[in-house]
């Protein structure tokens, strides 16, 4: 497995052998396809939107993140949401960098 990006709490990897990606959430390692990674990117955008963060700050400090067709569910607080967003942005920045380097 090759390291893609590390944020404060989470880490992403690419596995050429398995042709997929892995995300280490600290308490568990989750295998995701590229399609599922795209879905996480979409969810990260939604969770880190101004409206959602404001809702979290004023109502409850936790949010549920379900992914891989509801196979996994994790609870994130505001800091973890921001960190998760950073992980996804960093992961896709690395993917894009590789695309540019191999073009």
């Amino acid at each position: 497995m090759e390291l893609l990006f590390t944020s404060t709490y989470y880490t992403s990897y690419q596995s050429t052998k398995d042709r997929c990606f892995y995300i280490d959430f600290g308490h568990k390692m989750v295998k995701v396809s590229f399609c599922q990674l795209l879905s996480l990117r979409y969810k990260a955008k939604q969770l880190s939107s101004h409206d959602h963060l404001e809702y979290m700050l004023s109502h409850c400090d936790v949010t549920l993140l379900t992914f891989c067709d509801k196979e996994h569910v994790i609870i994130l607080d505001t800091l973890q949401v921001l960190d998760f967003t950073e992980l996804i942005q960093g992961t896709f920045a690395m993917i894009e960098l590789r695309t540019a380097l191999t073009a």
Partner: protein, 168 residues
């Protein structure tokens, strides 16, 4: 190291995001035209109502084209939320003026995506969007022609103007 992501998707991710925003715009346009068709239908303006019903279907077809393109390219298309659709208009002329504004806004949005495609060398998507560039030119012109007709008809009764709205 192999680039697994590039093997799965053939379009640029930022372009994909813009295409998803375009899906929302096309769906919004479809709903706006449906509201306009309803307004015309309720006032017995049958030709105008038919015109906007057709426009509504066309915009939905545009949305579906982009939707399919994203998914067929290995990306993820997202079904959009549609809100803030106006249902009140001051006159039939205002309806067509707003329709022209709507088309101009869609055209500008398409141009922005084409410009982005050129910037990031996403030639596949740029090629796909050429059809939309032509289509937008035609759609803007068809509404402009109707607005010209409003000016030429002056204070003619609304029914006479409605009868001159193109059937197809």
């Amino acid at each position: 190291m192999e680039n697994i992501a590039r093997q799965q998707i053939s379009i640029n991710l930022e372009v994909m995001d813009m295409l998803n925003q375009q899906i929302a715009k096309e769906q919004h346009s479809s709903s706006v035209y449906l509201a306009m068709a309803s307004w015309c239908d309720q006032r017995g303006l049958e030709r105008s109502a038919s015109f906007f019903y057709r426009q509504s279907v066309e915009e939905r077809e545009h949305m579906m084209k982009i939707f399919a393109f994203i998914n067929n390219s290995g990306g993820s298309a997202y079904s959009p939320d549609v809100t803030n659709i106006a249902h009140e208009y001051a006159s039939l002329k205002e309806v067509f003026e707003l329709a022209l504004q709507q088309e101009i806004s869609v055209t500008q949005s398409i141009y922005k995506i084409v410009a982005k495609c050129r910037k990031v060398n996403d030639f596949g998507t740029e090629n796909f969007l050429q059809w939309f560039v032509e289509e937008q030119m035609e759609e803007e012109q068809s509404i402009r022609d109707i607005l010209d007709m409003f000016d030429l008809m002056g204070d003619a009764p609304l029914k006479l103007i409605d009868e001159r709205i193109p059937k197809e």
